[in-house]
Symmetry: C2
Subunit: 192 residues, 2 copies
């Protein structure tokens, strides 16, 4: 179980992990360097399936390499496409979807996720989710366009029907204004 | 492990549980009906110790009864005192402290926690915490004085030095303005 309240990435992993079942299906909407893909692949286990999306070949290569090292390539489908395309590709329902927005760490900073496609991708993720499933999002506010993307994600998430979705937002309230923001959305109605 | 993102109480339990060790010490600052006391007693195990504070005898009776039913009385010290007194009584360092503020469910609504003593009790809890330990707080905003108490807790927590404490605040952003607020504070520097 991931620990430490100083990391937005670990908080999302902790909060999403409760909805991922052994043998289940999950989506890493932003493969990046493969961190969340690896985490989800560990949770679904050898019988499960993870889809990992990225528009950059460099990101998918890094993810593939990390999966091979961990011996988990067999349970992951790498998809070179924008995450707003996920409904065309993923066979749902899925247990969880993780978004780690912004730019690829160590990559080209001008290539970032954008508010319009991000909100469409979030909606696609909610459509794919099983009851009781969760979507976890880390949004960064320090790069150009980051604040706008954060506002768009919060606006979309806070407008969701409270009877259908449980929505929480996490702020790091003793850090500067450029701290990341975490949003987790749970589809209601799981038979537990 | 507690589940469900719709419950502030369960979220605090989930986030605090990562810092509680088998055989460790924890504090329920607001015993109430014993819900968090029972949860913490389960985490520390038979070799651990939980202190449970409440100023109302009715709350301590309910907590005692719940502990007896669960066979966990032997690891819990019930203290009839305000939680701002905890430093005089608790032998630290402690792994975790949980505050569930407001009034006793099913009790007298005029008997509530108050901003001044709550902030002093929070400071006492931080003083008792071991490195890596966590304080979890649920604040309610719907009752008279609740909003002021929430503001006081947030102000205190957001002013903590970011090098010494990791502080997160959780809001239920698709509910009404009277939704509870969760604050979790982690003392930095745990040797993991």
């Amino acid at each position: 179980m991931p620990r430490g309240l100083n990391s937005a990435v670990k908080l999302v992993q902790l909060l999403v992990s409760g909805s991922v079942r052994n043998g289940g299906t999950a989506v890493d909407a932003t493969a990046g360097n493969g961190n969340d893909t690896l985490f989800l692949a560990g949770l679904v286990g050898p019988e499960g399936l993870v889809y990992a999306f990225d528009i950059q070949e460099k990101a998918l290569q890094a993810t593939r390499s990390a999966l091979e090292k961990a011996g988990m390539s067999g349970r992951v489908v790498l998809v070179r496409a924008g995450h707003e395309e996920m409904e065309k590709i993923v066979r749902g329902p899925v247990d969880a979807v993780i978004f780690n927005l912004g730019y690829l760490p160590g990559g080209e900073h001008s290539v970032t996720t954008r508010p319009g496609t991000t909100v469409r991708a979030l909606q696609a993720a909610l459509n794919l989710l099983r009851p009781g499933g969760r979507v976890g999002v880390v949004v960064y506010t320090g790069h150009p366009g980051g604040r706008e993307e954060c506002d768009a994600v919060e606006k979309m998430a806070s407008s969701l029907d409270g009877n259908l979705y449980n929505v929480i937002r996490i702020n790091f309230i003793n850090r500067s204004g450029a701290a990341p923001v975490v949003v987790v959305i749970e589809k209601a109605g799981e038979p537990r």
